[in-house]
C-alpha cells in the first residue's frame, strides 16, 4: 500500500511535466491544427542554453528564467521561420514541416556544437531531497513539480478565460474563420499561441532539464513524444484533455513499471502504448471530445 501511494505521487510528478508539454502541444493545435513534432526542440535549445549558462557559473535561480525565455523565443522564431510560411497548407504539409524543424534543429547542434552529451550540475534537491508523510518518502522535486504545474494550469486558465487574448485564442480554436470575421487578428493569435506554448514548454523544460542534468542534439525527442502522446490521449485540441492525458500517461508509466513482473518489466513502454491503443479503440477522440474546427 505504501509503495502504491509512493508510486501514485511519483506518477503525478512525472505526469505534471507531461501535462505541461501536452498543453503546449494542444494550444498550437487549437489554432493551427498543427501537431507540432518540433515541440521538443524548445527543450533541446533551452537545454543548450542551460548548459552554457551553468558552465559559465550561472546559478539555477538565473538559469530557470533563462530556460523559459529561450523556450518562448525559440517557439516564436520557429513559427516565424517555418510555420508562418506554410499557414493554410494541408495538415500533411504542416506535419512534415514540424518534422523538418525537428531534424534541422537537431542537426545544427550536432554539426556546430557537439554530438556528445553535455552535462551540467543539477540542483541537489532535485534528486536527493525528500520529506516524510507518514510512511511515505516524498521527493521534494515531485512536490515542487506538482505545485508549480497546478499554479501554471490555474494561470493558464485565467489567461484563457479572463483576457482578450484568451478569448481570441479560444475563439480561434473553436472556429478560426469566424473568429477572424469577428476581428481576431490571425498573426496575433497564432504568435500568441506559440508564445504560450513556448512558455509552457519552458516551465516543463526547467523540470525536465533539472532531472536530466544533461542535453544532446536529440534531447527533444522524448519530451516531444510524451507531449504529443498525452495530447492525443486527452483529446487533440482540448486543453483540459491535454492536462488529463499528461497525468494519465505519467501514472500509467510509473504504475506499470512497478506492477509488471520483472521478466516483462522491460516491456513497460510497450504496455503503455497497448493501453493507448485500447483507449483509441473505445474512445478514438481521447478523453475529451472536441468539436472539429476548421484549420487556419
Amino acid at each position: 500500500m505504501v509503495e502504491l501511494a509512493q508510486n501514485l505521487i511519483d506518477g503525478l510528478g512525472r505526469g505534471s511535466i507531461y501535462a505541461l508539454l501536452a498543453l503546449g502541444v494542444a494550444v498550437v493545435f487549437g489554432v493551427m491544427h498543427l501537431l507540432n513534432f518540433a515541440h521538443g526542440e524548445l527543450i533541446t535549445v533551452s537545454g543548450y542554453a542551460a548548459f552554457w549558462a551553468i558552465t559559465n557559473g550561472w546559478s539555477w535561480w538565473l538559469v530557470v528564467p533563462l530556460i523559459i525565455v529561450v523556450a518562448v523565443l525559440t517557439s516564436l522564431v520557429i513559427e516565424r521561420l517555418a510555420f508562418s510560411r506554410v499557414r493554410g497548407a494541408s495538415q500533411f504539409t504542416l506535419l512534415l514541416t514540424s518534422f523538418g524543424v525537428h531534424f534541422v534543429v537537431s542537426a545544427i547542434f550536432l554539426l556546430y556544437v557537439s554530438a556528445s552529451v553535455k552535462n551540467f550540475a543539477r540542483p541537489a534537491w532535485t534528486t536527493q531531497s525528500t520529506w516524510a508523510l507518514g510512511p511515505l518518502q516524498i521527493e521534494t522535486f515531485d512536490t515542487v513539480v506538482i505545485v508549480v504545474t497546478i499554479l501554471t494550469l490555474i494561470g493558464t486558465n485565467l489567461l484563457l478565460q479572463r483576457t482578450m487574448f484568451g478569448l481570441a485564442l479560444r475563439a480561434a480554436a473553436a472556429d478560426f474563420d469566424t473568429a477572424r470575421l469577428m476581428g481576431v487578428r490571425s498573426d496575433t493569435v497564432i504568435r500568441g499561441a506559440f508564445a504560450l506554448s513556448g512558455l509552457l514548454a519552458g516551465i516543463a523544460g526547467v523540470f525536465w532539464l533539472m532531472r536530466a542534468g544533461s542535453t544532446t542534439p536529440s534531447a527533444g525527442i522524448d519530451p516531444m513524444l510524451k507531449g504529443v502522446l498525452a495530447a492525443l490521449i486527452g483529446g487533440l485540441g482540448s486543453l483540459r484533455g491535454a492536462v488529463l492525458g499528461g497525468f494519465a500517461l505519467g501514472l500509467a508509466e510509473v504504475l506499470l513499471r512497478s506492477w509488471l513482473p520483472g521478466s516483462i518489466a522491460g516491456l513497460t513502454e510497450g504496455f503503455v502504448f497497448a493501453l493507448i491503443a485500447l483507449l483509441f479503440i473505445f474512445r478514438p477522440q481521447g478523453f475529451v471530445s472536441v468539436a472539429h474546427a476548421e484549420r487556419v
Partner: protein, 408 residues
C-alpha cells in the same frame, strides 16, 4: 642428361619459381615492400609537423573510415575521424610506412552504410575503420563480403567480431568489460548486486548486465534485484527506487550500462530514500558521457578504454592534436581505439608485405602482442576479439583514477 637438357630443365624450374613468386607478389607489390617490421608508433607520436622528413614516395596505403556522424555515435566517430587523418599526417611526416604514405578518406555512413563502404572500396581502401553499432557495421561487412579487414574501433559488441570475415574489435568486448566489473566488486568484498538492464540479450544495454550477472554469480555474489529502464532516456527511476528501497541492505553494487547522467540521477533518488551506502558501477558508457564532469559522481566505478594519465602516450597525442589543430577532441578515452585501428591495419600490411586486403586481413588475424595506445592487442587464436586488460577507474576525491586492471 646432356648439358642442353640440364640447362633447359634449370630454365624451366627458374620460370616456375618466378611464376610462383609472381603469384604471391602480384598482390603484394609495392606499398609495404617486403614483409616484417613494426609500426613505429612513437615516431608518429613524436613527429613535428613543422619539421617533417622528406615526403614518402611509395604507393600510398589507403585507410577508409566509414563513420557515423549521427547523434547516436557521433560523439566518438566525429572526433575519431578527425584524429586518424591527423595521425596519418604525422606518420607521413615521420617518413611513412616503409616509404609509403598513408592516406585516409572519411565517408559518412548517413543512412546508407553500404554506399559509404562502396565509396571507400572503389577508392582502393586497404582496410576500413567502421562505426561501432551493428546497424551500420553489418551493412559494411556485407559490402566488403568479408574480403576487406574492418576494425570496429569503438565497439564492444561481441557479435561484430568475426576473424573469418576480417572483422575485428579493437577494444575488449561487453563480456570481458562487465565481467571485469563483477570481478572487481567481488575483490572489494561486495557480495550483493542490483542490476539495471533493458532486457536479456539486448545488445549492449542487456548483454553487459547479462555478463555482469553471470560473472558475479559465478564468483559467489548474489543479484538481489534486477530492474529495467530505458537506456539514454530515463532520468526518473521512481518506480524502481520504491522497489529497491524495500529490498536493499544499503551495501550493494548497482550495475548498469546506463549513461552518466542516468546513473547520477538514479543515485540521487536512491540517496533520497536513505540508501547512501551503495556502490555504482558501469561500463564505457560512463566515460563516453563524461562521468568525470558530473556532479555527485564521487565513488562511481567505470571501465574506460584508456585510463589516461598526464603525459602518457594518449595524453601526449591528444595534446599534440589540440596544439596543431587548435581544438580539443571529445571522448578522449575512445580516441586511442581509432588510432590503434589504423596502426593494426598498417601492422598487418607490414607483417604480410602485401597490399591485397584479404591478405592484410589474414595477417591481422595473426597479430600477437601488439603494443597499441590502448594496451596489448592479440588477435592470433581469437575470433577477432582481443583479450585485453580492462581498466577499472573510479572517481576518488573528484579525480578519475585507475584503481585496478582486470584480465589481459
Amino acid at each position: 642428361m646432356n648439358i642442353r637438357k640440364l640447362l633447359a630443365l634449370l630454365f624451366a624450374m627458374a620460370l616456375v619459381a618466378a611464376a610462383c613468386g609472381s603469384d604471391g607478389d602480384s598482390s603484394s607489390s609495392s606499398a609495404a615492400g617486403e614483409g616484417g617490421g613494426t609500426v613505429d608508433i612513437d615516431a608518429a607520436l613524436n613527429a613535428d609537423l613543422s619539421a617533417c622528413e622528406d615526403a614518402p614516395t611509395g604507393d600510398p596505403i589507403r585507410v577508409g573510415m566509414a563513420m557515423d556522424f549521427s547523434d547516436v555515435v557521433g560523439f566518438v566517430d566525429i572526433p575519431g575521424s578527425n584524429l586518424v587523418p591527423y595521425m596519418a599526417e604525422k606518420i607521413n611526416c615521420a617518413g611513412g610506412v616503409n616509404g609509403s604514405p598513408v592516406e585516409v578518406r572519411v565517408a559518412e555512413v548517413g543512412d546508407d552504410a553500404a554506399l559509404a563502404a562502396q565509396e571507400l572500396l572503389d577508392w582502393g581502401a586497404h582496410f576500413l575503420i567502421g562505426p561501432p553499432f551493428a546497424d551500420f557495421a553489418l551493412p559494411i561487412l556485407q559490402t566488403t563480403d568479408g574480403e576487406v579487414p574492418m576494425f570496429v574501433a569503438a565497439s564492444t559488441e561481441p557479435t561484430l567480431a568475426d576473424a573469418s570475415i576480417n572483422s575485428f574489435l579493437v577494444s575488449f568486448d561487453d563480456n570481458l568489460m562487465s565481467g571485469a566489473v563483477a570481478q572487481w566488486a567481488l575483490d572489494e568484498g561486495i557480495t550483493r548486486a542490483i542490476v539495471f538492464t533493458e532486457g536479456e540479450g539486448v545488445p549492449y544495454t542487456g548483454v553487459n548486465p547479462d555478463a555482469f550477472i553471470a560473472a558475479f554469480e559465478a564468483g559467489g555474489g548474489e543479484v538481489v534485484s534486477t530492474q529495467t529502464y530505458v537506456w539514454a532516456a530515463d532520468t526518473d527511476f521512481s518506480a524502481q527506487v520504491n522497489e529497491i528501497a524495500g529490498i536493499s541492505e544499503n551495501n550493494e553494487i548497482v550495475f548498469s550500462a546506463a549513461l552518466g547522467f542516468q546513473v547520477t540521477a538514479l543515485r540521487g533518488q536512491l540517496e533520497g530514500q536513505g540508501l547512501d551506502g551503495l556502490v555504482y558501477a558501469g561500463t564505457d558508457a560512463l566515460d563516453a558521457t563524461g562521468i568525470q564532469f558530473e556532479a555527485n559522481n564521487e565513488g562511481i566505478v567505470h571501465t574506460p578504454h584508456t585510463s589516461i594519465s598526464a603525459g602518457d602516450r594518449v595524453d601526449t597525442m591528444l595534446a599534440s592534436y589540440e596544439a596543431d589543430r587548435g581544438e580539443a577532441l571529445e571522448s578522449r578515452g575512445f580516441m586511442g581505439l581509432y588510432v590503434d585501428s589504423m596502426f593494426l591495419g598498417l601492422q598487418g600490411i607490414l607483417d604480410c608485405g602485401c597490399t591485397e586486403p584479404a591478405d592484410i586481413g589474414a595477417a591481422v588475424a595473426q597479430i600477437e602482442g601488439f603494443q597499441g595506445l590502448t594496451g596489448e592487442i592479440t588477435y592470433a587464436g581469437t575470433n577477432g576479439i582481443p583479450p585485453k586488460a580492462v581498466p577499472i577507474n573510479r572517481i576518488v576525491d573528484g579525480e578519475d583514477v585507475l584503481v585496478a586492471t582486470i584480465g589481459g
